[in-house]
């Protein structure tokens, strides 16, 4: 009997099985492909959303934390890059273009990157921002909500407009009409020689109806509270701040060290210790305590906001605007404030006392420069946001 061989086998089970496997495999592959495609589409949508969020963060960060020193001084028509910030697998690259004196275009390119840093999705947004200026309505060297007491004969209050020493020739530095030496909602206590030390047109204005609470709190488009939120430096202590002076960063090239909380800009334009890199640094300082004390040879420029009382006890120089919600007390020698000093005297027991070898000089130039230098940007109130496609 012949034994059966493989070639003798008949049937179609194998062929049917292979066919079935192919068909099932194709269906499974099709379903897998569709599912995979869906998964990738969903993931790409997520990446795009993450890139968009990063871009938004970049724009919001520049505007909300406006760098007055570096951005207010870039030339019209030029763009400055603020670098790239990486947060996990997202990053954003920010740059700012100055469109004209008041307008800026803030752009941010957001990216979602992979582990190697290769962009998986990108989105660019922009915002047109406008400098928001303080409108200082100061019409006197000193403006107070209550009585101002002068003591001794060494002080000098000058309402005549002047340019700070060494500032002549700087853009926008001109002088205007003479202002009052002192304006107050109550009275001025100065007699004999003391009265002669108050100069201006007129030297003093008592019971001034224009000196209201708004005068000390609303400065055009911005309020006292807006300004303190934008403060570059906060001074929380009630103990004296001594020896504030401009400082430089380490290493070449040395730049004005705006991270130094005791660097309040350079009001000098020459002389010993003069720090040229800081002449355009006009910070906003905010004394948040019940009392802010300044003393011992400190100097600075810009806007100084004080939530409580302000006490200056010798050797302090400030060029710009000072606004105190409380009273002021100035003693000691070598105090010099050029610009304007406002004291609201909100508390019942607030008093204003000026004595010692103190000079209070009105200067529209100092005010203008401080206001320009410390201006911060805000989005245009209408149509500021841009989905920044590039051509």
């Amino acid at each position: 009997m012949r034994t059966s061989r493989l070639t003798d086998e008949r049937g179609m089970a194998l062929a049917v099985a292979i066919f079935a496997l192919i068909v099932i495999g194709a269906l499974v592959a099709g379903a897998f492909f569709a599912g995979h495609l869906e998964q990738r589409t969903g993931r790409n949508t997520l990446y795009a959303a993450q890139a968009a969020d990063a871009a938004e963060q970049g724009v919001a960060g520049v505007v909300s934390d406006w760098d007055q020193f570096n951005l207010n001084n870039i030339a019209v028509g030029t763009t400055t890059s603020l670098g790239t910030i990486t947060v996990g697998r997202t990053r954003y690259t920010q740059d700012v273009r100055r469109l004209n004196n008041d307008l800026f275009l803030v752009q941010s390119l957001g990216s979602r990157v992979d582990a190697a840093g290769t962009p998986l999705a990108q989105r660019k947004v922009a915002m047109v921002a406008r400098l928001s200026y303080v409108t200082a309505t100061a019409n006197a060297a000193v403006t107070a909500g209550k009585t101002v007491n002068f003591n001794g004969n060494a002080f000098e209050v000058v309402g005549n407009d002047s340019v700070p020493q060494g500032w002549s020739g700087e853009p926008g530095c001109t002088t205007g009409a003479a202002k009052a030496g002192v304006r107050t909602a109550e009275t001025v206590t100065a007699s004999g020689q003391q009265a002669d030390n108050i100069v201006g047109n007129p030297p003093k204005v008592e019971h001034d109806p224009t000196v209201t609470a708004n005068f000390f709190n609303i400065f055009g488009d911005v309020t006292f509270d807006d300004l303190k939120k934008s403060a570059d430096i906060v001074l929380p202590n009630t103990t004296p701040y001594n020896g504030a002076a401009p400082s430089l960063t380490a290493g070449a090239p040395q730049r004005c060290n705006t991270a130094d909380q005791m660097n309040w800009g350079e009001p000098h334009r020459n002389g010993g210790g003069y720090t040229a890199q800081c002449v355009n640094y006009f910070p906003i300082l905010y004394g948040s305590g019940t009392q802010t004390k300044l003393a011992a040879g400190g100097r600075g420029q810009g806007l100084l906001l004080v939530e409580g009382d302000l006490e200056i006890s010798g050797g302090f120089e400030w060029t710009g605007l000072i606004v105190a919600k409380g009273g002021i007390k100035i003693t000691g020698n070598g105090n010099k404030i050029v610009g304007a000093l406002l004291a609201q005297d909100v508390a019942v027991d607030d008093q204003n006392s000026i004595s010692g070898n103190t000079t209070l000089q009105f200067s529209s130039c100092a005010l203008s420069k401080a206001i320009q230098g410390s201006a911060f940007a805000e989005p245009l109130t209408m149509r500021s946001w841009v989905q920044a496609y590039t051509n």
């Binding site: 012949r2 569709a34 004209n100 008041d102 275009l105 406008r130 200026y133 209408m382 149509r383 500021s384």
Partner: protein, 305 residues
């Protein structure tokens, strides 16, 4: 070898084999058919998902720049105080007419009453300005305050691409015509070089029927022509459903009919499959599949205090 050497199957064996083969074959066939239906319905479903998702992206991109402006204080040259100009022209449930943002540029030459030059290198947008586009020009007026800033509306009458800026760079020169009642000379005097100019195109987006199917279509009201399908097919329009629904929400997320109060547009797209697919068990469950996607588009240029 003789016939008697051959062994065959008995009838019983054959019958059993036949029954088993039929049973296995039937089950396999059923599985294959079922798998095919599932696969097809999945493919249709994925297609619909892609469709409505794309639609949501397109609509969101198109509407996100929508804003409005107003003249804060009465300035005769610019218009009455607090008069508002919203980019939303006509708001209906299944139809929206609006000004679609097409680009932004910045003046690079002293503005003139009938011509604005935008620096080419800083122009951003989805396309270049075209004749009949509408534009809004930023007017700063007093630089010490933003309270009197305004956007003034005009229309592009001609575009020349090779004029110079003040700095010598290439500029897009737009010949413009201010709207009736606007004093172009006064506007020009209040403008500052470097200010932004936004370009817009009047568009219509609506749910419309072509043949037996419904689509999301768009039409340029500036250029005219016929409506173009953007995506679909969508569900039809009945009393109880629609393939495209716009809801206009104010800052409290309540429905509003006032264009300047709209802060958000809720868009619901309801896609349908191209053909009938199996949506449940049994052959009788063949039907057109549907999928709805709702997206809320925040109108970025209406978000202000």
């Amino acid at each position: 070898m003789t016939m008697t050497d051959r062994r065959g199957f008995t009838m019983v064996e054959l019958m059993v084999a036949l029954v088993l083969t039929l049973a296995v074959g039937g089950v396999t066939y059923g599985l294959l058919v079922n798998s095919q239906r599932v696969s097809r319905s999945q493919t249709e479903h994925v297609g619909m998902q892609d469709n409505v998702r794309s639609g949501a992206l397109i609509v969101a991109n198109e509407l996100r720049e929508v804003g409005y402006d107003s003249v804060p204080t009465a300035v005769p040259a610019l218009g009455p105080g607090n008069a508002t100009n919203s980019d939303l022209i006509l708001m209906e449930s299944g139809k929206l007419r609006y000004r679609a943002w097409r680009g932004i540029g910045f003046t690079c030459f002293p503005p003139a009453a009938a011509e604005l030059r935008l620096e080419t290198s800083t122009y951003m947008g989805v396309r270049q300005p075209q004749v009949n586009d509408s534009l809004v020009v930023y007017v700063e007026r007093t630089n010490s305050t933003a309270q009197d800033d305004a956007w003034v509306h005009a229309r592009v009458t001609a575009v020349v691409t090779n004029k110079p800026c003040t700095n010598g760079n290439a500029a897009l020169a737009l010949s413009i015509a201010y709207l009736a009642g606007t004093d172009g000379a006064a506007v020009t005097a209040a403008m500052v070089q470097g200010g932004p100019v936004r370009i817009y195109e009047a568009m219509e987006m609506k749910h419309y029927q072509s043949g037996t199917q419904w689509w999301l279509g768009m039409l340029s009201l500036n250029a005219g022509g016929v409506i173009q399908p953007v995506l679909g097919p969508l569900a039809d329009s009945t009393a109880t459903q629609s393939g495209l629904v716009f809801r206009y929400l104010d800052r409290d997320r309540l429905v509003t009919t006032v264009p300047k109060n709209v802060r958000e547009i809720q868009v619901t797209l309801k896609g349908v499959s191209d053909g009938a697919v199996r949506t449940g068990g049994g052959a009788s469950s063949l039907a057109v599949d549907t999928l709805a996607l709702t997206t809320n588009v925040a109108l970025r240029n209406t978000l202000r205090p």
